[in-house]
């Protein structure tokens, strides 16, 4: 029974990982194609649906804390839904292209890595290398795009008052999206070097382990 369950789990994970891989591959393909054909202003509308689907699917990850840290997922979801989806004014900016391309490359590598592991039990070493090396470039690009887009959205957040709850109310609660955005930006300051350093130490561990094997 235990064996059957674990096989079921592996199949689920394999299918899940490959499905999301295809989602991100689609995002990358559409992003690059639209960039070349129509320019960066149109990238968002081209990738919107597959991006939202692929990114939100991350919530279904059985082991999100193992494969991608919680801050990374929450910042992605924040960008996808609260910033990009809600504020069309920033959708045409070039940073959307750099964001989607860096995200999708990272995710394609990550999901194919895990898809391979679940489906075949092993991963080719070049995939391991890619997984632990592309972040060196993708993280700075992705993080700067995220920060840039939040910053660009700030004036629109303030004016539109979207998602804001004001006093007075029965529950004596208020929520100011504008200040939340500021706090989010603030979190990037210690958060990004921390994540980068974490990935560097993961890289050392993973690549030295494979060398020893």
């Amino acid at each position: 029974m235990a064996g059957f369950l674990s096989m079921l789990r592996r199949t689920y994970l394999a299918v899940y990982n490959w499905a999301v891989f295809i989602g991100w591959a689609q995002v990358l393909f559409l992003a690059v194609k639209t960039l070349k054909e129509s320019g960066h202003e149109h990238v968002y509308s081209a990738v919107e649906k597959p991006l939202q689907l692929a990114q939100t699917a991350a919530i279904l990850e059985v082991l999100p804390l193992l494969t991608a840290t919680l801050p990374q997922i929450s910042s992605r979801l924040y960008l996808t839904w609260i910033i990009l989806h809600s504020f069309p004014e920033v959708q045409t900016h070039f940073l959307v292209s750099s964001l989607t391309i860096s995200w999708s490359i990272t995710e394609i590598i990550r999901y194919s890595f895990f898809g391979m592991k679940e489906a075949f039990g092993a991963t080719p070493s070049f995939l391991l290398w890619l997984r632990y090396s592309t972040f060196l470039v993708m993280y700075p690009i992705g993080i700067s795009s995220e920060v840039g887009l939040i910053y660009l959205a700030l004036p629109h957040i303030k004016v539109s008052e979207k998602f804001c709850i004001r006093m007075p109310n029965k529950w004596n609660f208020s929520f100011d999206n504008f200040y939340i955005a500021f706090i989010a930006l603030g979190i990037y300051v210690p958060g990004s070097p921390h994540m980068y350093r974490y990935m560097l130490s993961q890289r050392k561990k993973a690549l030295s382990k494979s060398k020893r094997e």
């Binding site: 006093m167 007075p168 029965k170 004596n172 609660f173």
Partner: protein, 311 residues
């Protein structure tokens, strides 16, 4: 007796080891290590017996009052112990004082001073509702009580806590304190019905007094020199709840929130309750393991863990 002091990676922490008399205690060893290493005062040292590599056993921590001979297994000429630096330490009293003084002093700032105008709020003259005044007294009494208990009631089993905990715990208490105070004293604060307020505060006050009594009972379980170790708590609510002190604390905050009704307050209640529940589960488990009814030890009675009627 020759004592070899190694780090967890096997490296010798004190070159050449230490020479101590055969009747020396662990406390003497700690002093000797401190003398040699200047920066590692005793409360920073975690000394354990080595475990065979690969073994999943938890290492035995050396107890300060025991004599070193108790840890040697027959071969009383030499002993190897493993050293770990716990980092800079502060006494629990210091830690608790700073945690609690923040909410005690910051909350009244929101009540007495016009911080809201400073934060950009432009409005007419502020009207202070009675519930806001009562909330101020309740809140300040609560944290004043906690500070008094820290100095006069609690008996701590470990004298110190890592310095980093000061920053972490103060951030938690002070931030939540300001967060709640902000909404409680806001000019646009909406009070609940008079009856609800009275019920909330009365229930909360009752729980605070019970909480104080629980703390007194707990501290009497331990002897004045702090060597009490673990006992089965008895008397008052402890007969039915293992962690009656946490239970009364949680219900006390519930009373406060019923009377004041802010999302911020309820959020604090949920976070505090989950932290305390974690502690309570661990404590209950520890007590059950210790008092298993074997070897003449009493068996730990069936009790609620923390929050009757749920857990």
């Amino acid at each position: 007796m020759k004592v070899t002091v190694v780090s967890r990676s096997g490296r010798e922490v004190i070159k050449g080891g230490l020479d101590l008399s055969d009747s020396a205690t662990v406390a003497d060893l700690q002093e000797a290590i401190h003398k040699r290493t200047k920066k590692f005062y005793p409360s920073r040292q975690r000394l354990t017996l080595p475990v065979p590599s690969g073994s999943k056993e938890k290492p035995t921590v050396l107890s300060a009052k025991k004599s070193l001979k108790e840890y040697t297994d027959g071969n009383s000429d030499s002993l190897t112990i493993v050293f770990k630096d716990l980092g800079p330490q502060v006494s629990y009293r210091t830690l608790f004082f700073f945690e609690y003084v923040g909410p005690l002093l910051l909350y009244p700032v929101f009540y007495y001073f016009n911080v809201y105008e400073f934060l950009g709020y432009k409005g007419s003259e502020r009207v202070i509702h009675p519930v806001q005044t009562y909330a101020l007294y309740y809140w300040c009494f609560h944290y004043f009580k906690r500070i008094m208990e820290t100095f006069f009631v609690h008996r701590f089993s470990h004298a110190t806590s890592p310095l980093s905990n000061v920053f972490r715990n103060c951030a938690y208490y002070w931030t939540f304190g300001c967060y709640i105070a902000y909404y409680m004293n806001h000019p646009l604060y909406t009070p609940v019905s008079d009856l609800q307020m009275k019920i909330g505060f009365a229930f909360g006050a009752l729980c605070q007094v019970s909480n104080l009594y629980c703390h007194i009972l707990l501290s009497n379980l331990r002897s004045p020199d702090g060597s009490g170790g673990y006992q089965i708590p008895r008397g008052f609510l402890f007969n039915i709840v293992t962690c009656a002190n946490y239970a009364t604390e949680i219900y006390q905050w519930l009373g406060f929130n019923i009377a004041t009704q802010t999302v911020a307050g309820y959020l604090f209640l949920v976070v505090a309750a989950s932290i305390m529940t974690n502690w309570a589960l661990a404590k209950h488990r520890r007590l059950k393991k210790l008092f298993d009814g074997k070897d003449g030890r009493p068996k730990y009675p069936r009790r609620w863990i923390i929050l009757p009627p749920f857990l």
